[in-house]
Every structure is written in C-alpha cells, then in structure tokens.
Amino acid sequence: METLAFQGLVGLSVAMYLWLLAAGLTIVFGVLGVLNFAHGSLFMLGAYFAFTFYGLWGVNFWLAIALSLIGVGVVGYLMERLFLRHIYHLDHAFQLLLTFGFILIFDDAVKMIWGGVAKIPAMPGFFEGTLSAFGRPFPIYNLFIIGAGLLVAIVLWLLFEKTWWGKMVRASASDREMASAIGVNIPTIFTGVFVFGAMLGALGGALGTPVRVVAPGIGSAMIIQAFIITVIGGLGNLKGAFVGAVIVGVLSAYGILLFPVFELFLIFLIMAVVLMVKPQGLFGG
Amino acid sequence: MNDIIRTEGLGKYFGEMAAVHEVTLSLKEGLFTSIIGPNGAGKTTLINLLSGYLLPDRGRIFFRGTDVTRMRPDKRVKMGISRSFQVMNIFPRLTVFQNILLPVLSRLNKNSRPLASLRSQKEVVAEAEKTLQEVWLQEEKDSPAGELSHGDQRLLELGIAVASNPQLCFLDEPSSGMNPIERIKVLELVKKLSAERKTTFAIVEHDMDVVFSLSDWIVVMNRGEILAEGKPTEIRDNQEVRDIYLGEEI
C-alpha cells in the first residue's frame, strides 16, 4: 500500500514536467491554431541551456533557469517570426510539416553543439536531501517540482481569467477577425503567445536539469507524451492538459512499478480508451 | 399530397441560446418551399439539422415516414435528401467533370471500385455529362473546380447537389455573394431544375421577388421558431411577417 502511495508521489513529480510541456503546447494550439511538433525540442533546449549555465559554467541556479527561458524564448521568437508566420494561411498539414522539419534540425543541432553523450547534472545545494514520505526517502527537489508545477497552474489560471492580456489572448483565440476589428494586434499577440508557450516548455526542461538526464532525443520522447496528454485532456484546454499530465505521469510511474518494460504501452492503452469513449478528449469541445 | 419530410418539436441549443426551438413543420412533396426570415432566424441551422450536418438536441425528423433524426449525412443522401451549402463547398482540386462524377458514382454505388478505370464506366460518364450540360458547365469540364469564377462555382455547387438524383433537395442561399448578373443565372438554374426534375426543392433565400415568384409554400422563421407558414399570398398578407421585415416591400 505504501509503495503504491509513494510511487504515486513519484508519478506526480514526473507529471509536473509533462504539465509544463503540455501547457505550452496546448496554449499555442488554442490561440494560434498551430500544433507545434517541435515543442518537445524547445523543452530539450531548455534543459541543455540550463545544464550549460548551471552545470558547466557554475551560474547561480535561479539565474540559470531565467537565462534558459530567455534563450529558448529567443529561439521561439525566431521560429515564429521568420518561419511559422508565413504559412498560417495554408492547410494545417504544412504547419505540421514545417515544425516537423524543426525537430530534425534541433535534434542534430544539439548533437553538434553539445555532443551526443548524455549529461548527468549536479543538484543545487539547498535542495539536497530527502524527506520521509510513506516510509521511504523522497527527494526534496521533487517536492519543489510539484510545488512549482502547481504554482504555474495557478498563475496561468489567474493570467488567462483575470488579466487584460489574458482576455485579449482569449478573444484572439475565439474570433480572430473580431479581435482584429476592435484593434487587437493579432500578429503581435501570436508571436507573444508562441514565445510564452516556448518558455513554458523550456521551464519544464530547465527545472529537470538536476534530476533528469539531458540527452539528444529527450525532446521527441517528451512530445509523444505531450500529444497523449493533449489527446486525453482535449487540445487547447489548459485544465485538460493539467489533468492529462497527472494521469500520464502517475500511470507511467505505476506502469514502471507493476508492468516494467510495457509501461509505455499502458499509456497508449489509456489514450485509446479515452478516444473511443470521448474522441475530443476529457475536456475537449 | 404526401409529406416528404416532417419534424416534431425540433430543437438545437448552443449553451443558453436557442438556434432552433420547437420547430414542427412538414414539407409537402412536389411543392417548392422557401424558408425565409431575418438573419439569425435559424434557417441554416434548420437545414443543417434536416440534412444531418448537425444533430438535434430535441425532437424528431421523419423522411417519408422513416425516423432519420440521428442518421448520418451520407446515409441521408442515400435515402434521397441532398443539399447545397451557403459557403461554397466544392472539390477544388478535382476537375469540374470529376466534381459531378463523384456524386453520380456514389448514387450508383460504384465509387468503391479500386481497379476499374474511370473512363470505362460508360453509364456513369454519360449521366455525369448530362448533368454537366444541365447546369451549363459543359465548357469548363476539364478545368480544376477551384479555378472557376465565383458564379460558375455556384452552378457547380447546385450540380453536385442534384447529381445524386435526390427526392428532396435543400439549397442554402444559392445566390448569396453573387453579383446581379450571376444571381440571375443561378436563380434561372434553380427554376429550371425545379421544373425539369422530380425533386422537391426547399430553399433559403432573401430575395423576395424570387421567393414569391418561385414558391408554392413559404415558411417564415424568426428567433429559431416558426413564425408563420402558408401560400405566398397568405404570407404576403400576414401582419406579423410584415412587422419583422419592418415595412420592407414584400
């Protein structure tokens, strides 16, 4: 019993990384109507940047996180401004193809710049150590991650429900023409939202640095999980992304415990079941 | 005269808003019906419900006595209901000829053959050619449909709707977005099709001259409900109807 509860806690911390990734993906889709296949690569870049600043150059942990967000924000800005913007008017398929091209570029670029070997980073001092949970030692850092994820969820909720910026973004999402007509600068909002989504994904990657392996290919592994989460939760729905991330994170953890080797299969099975019952996702419209 | 299609208490709601509410009507076979009403009255939603594009929240629909309320659009077409769309919905990358060929193939249940060559389907080809001539698009046969003029696309839209040889055909604002010359042509075609084919037509239309000259029956909708229905003369004299059009000449 305690093993199960403990594993659930482990799953919850994993879920938070997935939540940050899925949140960015789903926000970009909800507002721009674009599914960014390369979103996992932005997560990966966040991890690599943070590792470089913090792990290689010894920069202060928090500063390193901030710098990686800025770095990936710039990458996201260039992606949207120079490339994505020119094909909004085309069939969705071409947006998918374009972002798919970016996955190929990022995956190899990362190998080229940092080498193909997986990195194992160091833990920041104040997070070292464990707390006892359900009779087992649970890393304090993982508690921090759970806290951070919940904090982001609250902040996002406040942002989109209560602020003027959030309202403008939601207006642009639901009716582009109308928003434009009342003076909302759609291209700027789009760039802003894309960068915001990229930074959320990067945050997920960056926060994982002290505990997770930084390697080429983690981007594509994550994007598959992000897709499963958004399919389960409903594309464009933040609540769905959070719930979906928790489901996938916790189930993966149980899967590893109870059906090792086939835990990925379990996740796919859950997705298939959700799709058969509710094709647009649990919270999809 | 038989009912060709009838509804009982049909309702469709989007959140709090009733797009269509408590609509009970029956259309008689062979009578040309026009559905009119101000913008937002629910006319297109009604067509969408009757053709299967949307499913109702309440009520039932019967086509020649068969309950088709939740039947998929493609099955309804096989039963004999077809429609055209207000916003143009043709096959842009196919040629004009292929646009007509597909519905004919479907009607004759021949669209599933994976190895037959299109040209060898003589019966199908002949019928498609005939329909093409019927809608005056013979000249544009091999052009990609997306490259046609707006007016010709609308003729094609009508052609696709009648190519499945429907018993009941809904035309949703067939002349919308047309310049005056194109409008005349489209409405001439509607007139011709209704005279020459055994199809019962029901159109949504704003042009009152057309409505009153073509219709045998008029249904007036307002705010999702049926305000009035009857013969053109009855509708013309109906005070409530005149009111919602705010004194427009009808």
């Binding site: 020119h86 | 077409v77 597909l102 299109l118």
Partner: protein, 311 residues
C-alpha cells in the same frame, strides 16, 4: 506518347542494370525502390486522401519483422514477403480503426504516437523481436513455388530482380487504384470531407481503406528489407524513419503520381552527397523541409511541370 516511351525506356534500363552496374549501385537501387513503395503508400494517405501520417514506419517495421520471423522459421521468400504484408495490413487496419475517426490534426498526433508505440514494442519485447539487437541471421531464402520454380537468391542480381518485379507490380496496382472510382473518392475526401459525406459516401470507411492500403505498401517495403540486409533492428520503426517517406514525397511532389518515386530517388542521391561532408545530415534534411514548405510545396515535379503546388 512521349511519356509512355520514357517510362518504358526506364523500365528496360532497370531490367538491364545488373549487366553493367556493380553491387553497390544495385543495392542503392533496391533501397530506392523500397523507399518508393513506402512513399507511394504515404502519399496515398496524404496527397490523395488528405491525411498526414507520421507513423508509417510502424507498418514498415511490421512488414519487416513479420517477414523476418517467417523466414527464420520457414525459408521461402514468397511466404515471407506476403506474410510481412499481411501483418502490416492487419496492424494498419486495427490501428486505423482508432486513428481515422478524428480530425486531421488529432490523426497526425495519433499516428506519431502509435508509430512510436510500435517502436517501443520492437525495442523492449526481447522474446519476440530480439530487443535492441533485433533479429539476425535472416536468410535470403529462395523464391519458390512448389512444383513450378525455385530460384536461388544468393546473388544480389537475383534479389534485385525480385524486388524490381514486386515494385513494378505494386506501382502498376497503385496507378490503377488512384485512377479508379475509389481513387476519386479518396481525393474527394481530401478536397472536402463534408461535401463527400453529402454526396452519400462514408468518409470514415474510405479513410480506413486508404490507411490500410498505405500500411500494406509500407509493409511491402519493409518485408523486402530482411532478405537484403539479413538483420532487422528497432530503428526501422522510429519516427525519424517515418520521416523518410514524408520527405521523399515532399521533395518529389505531393500532388502527383510519380512524385514519391522521383522523391525517393532524389532523397538517396541527396543523402549520399550530404553524408560525405557531414554526419549531421538531419539538419540538412530539416532545412530542406523548411525550404520546400515555405516555397516549393509542389516539390520537384511541380517545378518542372507546373502542376498544383499551392498549399
């Protein structure tokens, strides 16, 4: 007339190739043919039916592993190849039922996900697939029909002819399909799903048929691999492998019949050249995708023939 002559000359050239080309060229040509089949299937889904699948490698792998397992137990080439295609067909039919009911965007996400699910199966299910070592020692079994013929396959030339004949037959079949009423139905679905439903066609059924045929073409390409390489490993199911038919088709031309075949040829030529200069050829590939999507959506064929090419 000129076109038919050109095609016939090409076919004759392909049959005569072993007479003057070395083993390496034959090997490359076989791979080009495999990619052509793989890409034709992909394009049936994308160019003809409007469905963008990033998971076709899953069915390629099903064909490859299926054929390999059969050949290891029962070394008859025909049985192996047909068996591989059958496995891929069943897999694509079953997964298709799950995938085709959704909007195009969900479809693309699902195909990527299911493709990777097959990859993870291939990688982890050691007992069945050999895990990350894969299956080895697969014989290039003889082509035999009991009582009729028995052709030894030890020489590359013989196997080349087998692949050539299978490819030509498959390409011919593909040509018939896309120019048939069924092919027109697929294209109707691509152009307007609503309209297709409103002419009385079940969009779902035809999407599934298209998906299954595409899966079988991927499976055929996959099934022809093990006798050539004598091993099958998990990377053939990976999404980066799914990228190859996507790229080849985009390069050659999405909206045309020969596009995928032209693209397969160009893909190998490009890969061969790029790999001599750098090991980071995925970056180049990605850059080529960007250029194509931004400016040349109709691919190489449209540049020369000016057909279609608008988004």
């Amino acid at each position: 007339m000129k076109k038919t002559l050109a095609i016939l000359s090409l076919i004759v050239l392909l049959f005569l190739l072993p007479l003057f080309a070395g083993k390496y060229i034959l090997y490359m040509t076989i791979h080009i043919m495999l990619l052509s089949l793989f890409s034709l299937g992909f394009n049936l889904l994308f160019g003809y039916t409007g469905l963008l699948s990033f998971g076709q490698a899953g069915f390629y792998a099903a064909g490859a592993y299926g054929c390999a397992k059969i050949l290891l137990a029962f070394p008859s080439l025909l049985v192996g190849i047909i068996g591989g295609v059958a496995v891929a067909g069943v897999a694509s039919f079953l997964l298709g039922i799950l995938c085709i009911r959704h909007t195009r965007i969900y479809f693309s996400m699902l195909t990527l996900s299911f493709g990777m699910m097959i990859f993870s199966l291939a990688w982890k299910w050691r007992d069945m697939t050999g895990g990350d070592d894969g299956l080895v020692g697969i014989p290039r079994a003889p082509l035999e029909i009991p009582g009729l013929i028995r052709l030894n396959m030890t020489s590359m030339e013989n196997y080349y002819y087998v692949v050539l004949v299978f490819s030509l037959l498959a390409i011919f079949l593909f040509h018939r399909i896309v120019h048939s009423p069924m092919g027109l139905t697929f294209q109707g679905i691509r152009d307007s799903e609503t309209r297709t439903a409103c002419v009385g066609i079940s969009v779902r059924n035809y999407r599934l048929i298209s998906f299954t045929i595409a899966g079988m073409y991927a499976g055929l390409a996959g099934a022809l691999l093990p006798p050539l390489e004598s091993t099958v490993t998990p990377p053939v199911a990976h999404w980066s492998y799914s990228a190859e038919p996507v790229l080849a088709t985009l390069l050659g031309g999405i909206y045309t019949f020969p596009g995928p075949i032209v693209g397969a040829f160009l893909f190998y030529v490009l890969k061969d050249i790029i790999v001599r200069f750098t090991q980071y050829w995925l970056i180049c590939l990605g850059a080529i995708v960007l250029v194509l999507v931004l400016g040349f959506r109709g691919g190489v064929v449209s540049i020369f023939y000016g057909k279609g090419g608008q988004g």
